[in-house]
């Protein structure tokens, strides 16, 4: 018997993500877009859980849904979106964008149909219990330097954001 739960949840979450994604790029109101994006992100966190990456799922919820999206909503409230809603929503060159995206999509399809064979049919299941510990070991061991650089990047970003957003420094 093939397990039903995995495909069911996969398709449910995938559908949520895709609908959310479509709403993000089509909604007139930026707040609605942001809400759709939040739904997408939460669904994606669940997909991470299905992929045995609980730590990344937690980080996704805290950082993306709880942090970045609040920042987005905050900024949307600060800027006047009423006028932006009344204006034209799409570029005049929107068809160029669609063609480019279609071409990219064609490329993806080509790659995936050609390279389908390299993906293994069955994936060995791994122990979930040690995930966080193993991530920590890697993050503070092998990737120590990258981790420090990431913190530097965040510092630069904080300073940059403050410099940009402040009226008078």
């Amino acid at each position: 018997m093939t397990p039903v739960a995995t495909p069911f949840f996969f398709y449910l979450l995938a559908a949520t993500m895709l609908i959310g994604g479509i709403l993000v790029i089509t909604c007139k109101n930026a707040v609605h877009s942001a809400l759709a994006l939040i739904v997408t992100l939460l669904a994606q966190a669940n997909i991470y859980l299905m992929l045995y990456a609980p730590f990344v799922a937690g980080v996704q919820i805290i950082l993306y849904a709880g942090g970045i999206m609040v920042l987005f909503l905050f900024v949307i409230m600060l800027v006047n979106i009423d006028r932006a809603m009344k204006e034209r929503q799409f570029n005049s060159q929107w068809w160029v964008g669609i063609i480019a995206a279609t071409a990219l999509g064609g490329l993806f399809i080509a790659v995936y149909t050609k390279g389908k064979s390299i993906f293994p049919e069955r994936i060995p299941s791994i122990a979930e219990g040690e995930n966080t510990q193993r991530v920590a070991t890697l993050l503070y061991g092998q990737y120590m330097f990258a981790f420090e650089i990431a913190s530097l990047l965040l510092l630069v970003a904080i300073i940059g954001a403050v410099v940009m957003a402040k009226k008078r420094i």
Binding site: L51, Y64, V79, Q89, K116, P124
Partner: protein
């Protein structure tokens, strides 16, 4: 039917590709800067999904580490992007990306 019901890495990759395309379409066609920034977040998330799917496929955790770094970058990008947006909005009173046509104001 079996190919649909048996979830493999490819399924995740296709989902990631679809999200990526949605993000690309959003970036290329929308005029509202906020929504363009959100579309970039979609693209980054699609990348994350791929990274984690591959990490699951190979059984290693390097993909997850990369995903964490990508999320960090996304946070930095959102902060700076929205900071620029606020500065831009204060000067031009608009959030249309078409109007971002000066290097200095």
């Amino acid at each position: 039917m079996d190919a649909l019901l048996h979830i493999t890495t490819l399924h995740y990759l296709v989902l990631g590709a679809a999200l990526f395309l949605l993000g690309v379409i959003g970036v290329l066609t929308r005029r509202n800067v906020v929504i363009v920034l959100m579309s970039i977040e979609l693209i980054l998330n699609a990348v994350n999904l791929n990274l984690i799917a591959f990490s699951r496929m190979w059984g290693g955790l390097h993909g997850q580490i990369f995903a964490i770094f990508v999320i960090t970058d996304a946070a930095a990008e959102a902060a700076v992007g929205l900071g620029i947006l606020i500065a831009f909005f204060r000067n031009k009173e608009t959030v249309n990306i078409d109007e971002v046509n000066l290097l200095k104001w």
